[in-house]
């Protein structure tokens, strides 16, 4: 267990815990306005202070964590659910027209950054958190397809795959039985990294108004609201920004730690 892994797991679970607790308890109602108490700096009553409507920032951060995690998690899920089978198929049919089609399709999707997809969807269907999920999710598909294919291709060269073919097993069966379990570690690590990128992307999208809409609190929109007031109430920007940094840093450290922990080469060296 490396320091990275422990610190990363601690930070990530802190944020996850905050998001889960927010379902049953927050210090204040996150939507309750209290104009007389507006723009309070952090204090014993309001740990993270209050915003320009006097809403409790701590409660908003807790509920905002929910939005961030939900969007990023579903988006990574979409990316994995579609990307991994595509990558496995492309590797199993290496060099065929199907492989070519999947890889060209990947290149094409890479040309559409999530923001561009979000712009397109919002322009057509209007804004909402679903857009952010779809936009980030679509962008994740080629990421997973590519990494799965790359890892699977080197596995297909290995002799234990040849042995399975000699035992009469077909490409689908081999992919499920031999390839997938051996790329799982890689996917877990990449999934963690993509999750953190998803948190960042969601914040960016909701900052420009392409993500979650009011009254759903989100860290990105809290920052957008803070922009005009940052000179006299810096905590409005520092606190949501800090929440994003802690979450992303935690997930990245977790990913790095998992990579070292799961890497068979390093484990063999330890044994």
């Amino acid at each position: 267990m490396s320091r990275n892994l422990i610190l990363g797991a601690a930070l990530s679970s802190l944020v996850l815990l905050a998001a889960l607790i927010s379902f049953i308890w927050t210090p204040y109602d996150y939507a309750a306005m209290n104009i007389p108490d507006k723009l309070q700096p952090p204090s014993a009553q309001h740990w993270f202070g209050t915003d320009h409507f006097g809403r409790d920032m701590f409660s908003m951060i807790m509920v905002g964590a929910r939005t961030s995690i939900a969007v990023a998690l579903v988006a990574v899920g979409i990316g994995m659910a579609l990307g991994v089978p595509l990558g496995l198929t492309a590797a199993a049919r290496k060099g065929s027209w199907l492989d070519e089609l999947i890889m060209r399709g990947n290149d094409l999707v890479f040309a559409f950054p999530s923001l561009v997809i979000a712009i397109l969807i919002t322009a057509v269907f209007g804004a909402g958190a679903i857009n952010a999920i779809i936009a980030i999710g679509i962008f994740n598909i080629p990421v997973f397809a590519r990494i799965t294919r790359g890892a699977a291709l080197s596995l297909w060269e290995r002799e234990f795959i040849l042995a399975a073919r000699v035992a009469g097993k077909g490409a689908t069966r081999i992919s499920a039985e031999h390839i997938l379990p051996n790329v799982a570690n890689l996917l877990i690590v990449q999934g963690t990294i993509q999750f953190s990128l998803g948190i960042l992307a969601e914040a960016g999208l909701s900052y420009v108004g392409l993500g979650a809409q009011p009254p759903t609190p989100s860290w990105g929109r809290m920052l957008a609201d803070a922009q005009t007031m940052v000179s006299f109430a810096p905590h409005l920007a520092l606190i949501p920004g800090g929440a994003i940094i802690v979450t992303v840093l935690g997930l990245n450290l977790l990913g790095d730690g998992l990579r070292d922990f799961l890497d068979p080469r390093i484990r063999v060296a330890r044994a």
């Binding site: 999530s114 420009v208 840093l249 450290l253």
Partner: protein
Amino acid sequence: MWRWTSRKSRPNVTLMLRYALKRLISLIVSLAVASVVIFAVIEVAPGDPASFMLGVNAQPETLAALRSELGLDVSQTQRYFNWVGGMLSGDFGTSYTYRTPVSQMIADRMWVSLPLALYALTLSTLIAFPAGIYAAARRGRPGDLTVMGATQLGIAVPNFWFAMMLVLIFAINLRWFNAGGFVGWDKGIWAGLHSLTLPAIALALPQAAILARVMRSALLDILGEDFMRTARAKGLSRRQALWRHGVRNALIPVLTIIGLQFSFLLAGSIIIEQVFYLPGLGRLVFQAISARDLIVVESVVMLLVFAVIMVNFLVDLAYAAVDPRLRNRT
């Protein structure tokens, strides 16, 4: 000797050209497919732009006139080809809301967004290369750990939040820069660059953190290669071997990331423009979304996608320049 050299160099040029041609064909196919996708998505949009522009009480005749003026009175296929044909000849159509040529609107804004993205790309490369090489050369030592810690933080910072902090410190408190706005290039190139500096730094630093990590790990991979040991056996010092044999080989994975980063920078610049109130493509596209000016959205998106595909094409060519093995692979 001379004749032999020229004879030998010719096949390399044809190989290079053939490689470039193959990439060019795939570039054109990508652009074609991308344009169809964008057009199709926009077509799904509910509502008719002409009735949206004229309001609910419009006369049928005026509506019909506007529809034909906007080119909406023909079939979808026809409209697609009109759109693509127009773009190829520099005509991006007419904005539904402003009734001005979209190409003009885009051209004005491009001169903010494109320099910003390139400025940021330059900054990020200039920061990342030395940092990555420095860290790789000092693997496991305090210098490496410091750089790696800084990049870990750099990756976690959202660029638009970082931009707000830069404004708070350097514009509001120190007053070294303006808090926002763009003076325009007619005030001189330095004045222009000055007003893009904070946005460029905000964009560049998080990307530089990623790039520095990629550079470092690519170099560390290369350091384990057999040919690095050969280089050391020749009498090169650790540092000489790293510079002469490591860096160019490490460029191969790093180039991929630079290509990908350009698309992030372009997308990022759209967000950063909001922080600094820059009159770039980002502002244009968000105004267009709220005004449901779909023709503008469609063209800006196509332009962004074009830029990304173009950059990836250039990266592919750069690969071949760096890696001789690619030239004869088809």
